[in-house]
Amino acid sequence: MSEEERLITPDEVRHVARLARLALDEDEVGRYAQQLSALLENVDAIRRLDTADVPPTAHPFPVENVLRADFETPSLDRDPVLAQAPVAESNRFRVPRILGEAP
């Protein structure tokens, strides 16, 4: 991969922003294209590292499922939780329509 191919284009920024659900204006798209390209160049040593026999580490110590005894414990009450929501209705979180087209 050559230096130029590694540069992130404004179209790639728009694609990643869509995946991350971030509405960016055109100024931000231009700035992040430049900055993410520089950041990736800065971590290039990682990409080129010879890791043929190296396992990945996801967590500093070995972890396994942690299960507690199976008995009922109280969880948070519904009302104080819903009171923190931007919009709640009928004991639920209210959101705009999810499907793009009419039923």
Partner: protein, 488 residues
Amino acid sequence: MSASPAPEFGSLAEIAASVRTGATSARAILAQSLDRVRELEGDLHCFNEVTIEHAEADADAVDRMVRSGRDPGPLAGVPVALKDNLCTEGIPTTCSSKILAGWLPPYDATVVSRLREAGAVAVGKTNLDEFAMGSSTENSAFGPTKNPWDTGRVPGGSSGGSAAAVASGMVPLSFGSDTGGSIRQPAALCGIVGVKPTYGVVSRYGLIAFASSLDQIGPFTTTVADAALALEVIAGHDPMDSTSLDRPAPDMLSTLTDGVSGLRVGIVDDFLTDGSESSDAVVLAAAALALAGAKVDHVKIPDLLLGLPAYYLIAPAEASSNLSRYDGVRYGLRVDGPDTETMNSRTRGQGFGPEVKRRIMMGTYALSAGYYDAYYGQAQKARTLVIRAFDAAYKNFDVLLTPTTPTVAFPFGSKVDDPIEMYMCDLCSIPSSLAGHPAVSVPFALSSEGLPIGVQVLAPALGEAVMMRVAASLETAAAREARGPVTP
């Protein structure tokens, strides 16, 4: 401008003893703290919120316990400041982000509950780089915190508000979180002690997540003994955090003054540079330990230098996943749109600041199809190499010494527009974060400009006792004038 010494509270043990015996009251200690906050908060901006009414009620509760013959605990009446990413029931918790403005957590973080059970009195929530992403507090949505040693300079970050609150004598104890250096770096820049415990020693329940495989909570204090006491109070298994280690809290205090005779101390050459005052401080610190009986030697561990680039892929990747919860549905800001996806995107686009967006973008890119193996997967393997390099070094050494930070506190605006330059602040602190190891920054010397320089002591996993012993020995050799609290 130059800083002058500040009035001190006395050690945490002394405060607690005087409150427990009724020689003074929690309310009187709190008044001393709040007076200092009123005097300096306008200049320094350490706090997002000072919770005077809650603090007075908590102090009164401590005093009532004493009067009725009950023991409030080992931190009785100690005023404490909490980084504003620790959940406090019914008290705003913002992460210094617009996206959480006005949110009231429905529960306390485990650390907050344990502090209250130990008799500590929380005085407020401290400023940070938004979602703990940054090294200067310049990424706070509510404006930066100033360094009490020189108000034209940053206090470090991300836990800059907590560090400056202790360094200016507002409180004798505060807490921060450390993902890649966010406790140790501001401790070094503010001339105080900051500890990042072994991953899993302190419960993360109620700590708002940034990078879950790295985040740990730890104390800021002016002395090593205070830090050891505070860490013993908050440490220990918590069933509410599945990554919490199922073992007792480390005992540091009983061996704290045992000295360093016979201990093997390694100076990590890879983090030293010629002509750097922070490197000179490490060499001086090592000489002091040798004089105290330690066996000191130099060691080269070049794979530790993989830490910085690996971290700046792993931490953003984890953050991009953790921060997906801020979607305008359950709490915090919502910016409306015609459909849910547009609402989500507008809320996040307007609610997050530039650095948080940059890291979410970086993390999402590193995890996306076609790039996962080249970036995130490779970074996880580099993380293994960092851990192996430490393991090899700890066959020959009990602890390692490095500078905490490459430079002293820097002026506002000097790095904020250059993310790569800002990320270099974490060069020396990141490797132990990736390995899950403990580390502590001890104020050791003053620079030619009169700014504090920290020396970092690293130890293997669960090596807190020996690490703090070495830190305590360094403290006795350190320049007293390099340690806070100071008056700006």
